[in-house]
Symmetry: C2
């Protein structure tokens, strides 16, 4: 008895891309498109204080002419526990990127990437996709556990046991993390090569009115450093 051949990815295959509206996910979207995938983008209104990023996600989806874009409502704020969703907690501010420490910061949202990837998995199953893209990054990041390689591999293993397609012998589901080992500067450099319009993207955890970046949260500092290393001043 021979095992049925599992065909490789074909150009035009559907991929589900997690699109936050930030620079990482915008780059990830461009990379997936460059690899020939047809994109189903998924964004989340999860109670984040920086909800304006969803407008940026919509603009990016439109600009990249994705096949579909869904904004899924899931209120993670009701659980609390994070400065990103709890107005009673302050987003930490720093004067320079060197002050970012090794601790998991209060901006960590409990199980966020697991919830997001699970919903992306549900969408993938419905649109017949075996490819998820997520712009996690383990280097220039804040030490979140759900942005690391071993976590992503474990999610992939679980996903391949979770779904109807998996047990019916489809090509194994793959969680693509093209940015995982890149610095923020390398991410931006690749995005620029692919023509990403970073003026649309947003990164700030604690924006002012109209989405003005605070310039001093972890995300702002890492972003500025990344652009500076590419010789760009935003």
């Amino acid at each position: 008895m021979t095992t049925p051949a599992l065909s490789a990815m074909q150009p035009g295959d559907p991929a589900v891309v997690l699109l936050s509206g930030g620079l990482d996910s915008a780059t990830c979207l461009a990379i997936a498109q460059d690899q020939g995938f047809e994109i189903h983008a998924i964004s989340f209104r999860y109670g984040q204080r920086h909800e304006y990023e969803l407008d940026r996600a919509r603009q990016l989806a439109e600009l990249h002419a994705v096949r579909s874009h869904r904004v899924v409502e899931i209120d993670l704020a009701q659980f609390g526990g994070s400065a990103l969703t709890d107005p009673g907690l302050s987003v930490p501010k720093h004067d320079s990127v060197e002050q970012l420490g090794g601790e998991i910061p209060i901006t960590y949202v409990p199980a966020r990437n697991t919830v997001f990837l699970s919903l992306a998995l549900a969408l993938a199953e419905v649109v017949g996709s075996r490819d998820l893209f997520i712009g996690v990054n383990s280097l220039d990041y804040s030490g979140y556990p759900d942005c690391r390689g071993p976590y992503i591999e474990a999610f992939e293993t679980m996903a391949n046991l979770a779904t109807k397609a998996a047990v019916q012998g489809a090509r194994p589901l793959k969680v693509h993390t093209p940015l995982l080992h890149w610095t923020k500067a390398e991410i931006i450099a690749r995005g620029l090569e692919l023509g990403v319009d970073y003026s649309i993207t947003s990164s700030c955890y604690d924006p002012g009115p109209g989405g003005t970046a605070c310039g001093r949260c972890d995300a702002c500092l890492l972003r500025s450093k990344g652009f500076a290393l590419n010789g760009i001043r935003e």
Copy 2:
């Protein structure tokens, strides 16, 4: 250097229990309570056509005097692909339990347990729990991939890499599945021992007005058989 001792469960430890309002999750709740856990119940309004089950979940939570009960809104119907969430698809009906086949039925909801467990994981992290309870069952069930042992083990592995508690050296998170290898009749027998009031629970996938069970969907047929084997006619 010694590894810090990971303490075992202590009476009164918090556990997160997935509570649908059906008989499996009601039994699971009673078992968790019998083991000495303090219960944080979580239910989902996910676009199911049998939403009346949420009223049953609320009654069960109240009767069992749980520490907290949350009903989380997550619209899986927007993805489609299941007779449980898509009014355009019919719930299959049968004349007897012997007609239930080996195929994964149209009532399968894409990635449902993965989405539910992920949200339970987020809640567990916030309430400081290392114990999730889910009433999945691989015997008298309809062949759903996300109700099997290897899937649950893979989820547990992933969860232990996903969260802040995990990387900070807390007791490993455990996904408890006390019903996994029991028949429906065994589940009911154990629940009766523990005093579960099954008149509150509901199982039907396609109820009529007021939550009247159809009597002919997979869930109704499995439930009736389980009660009949315990000498009970509902």
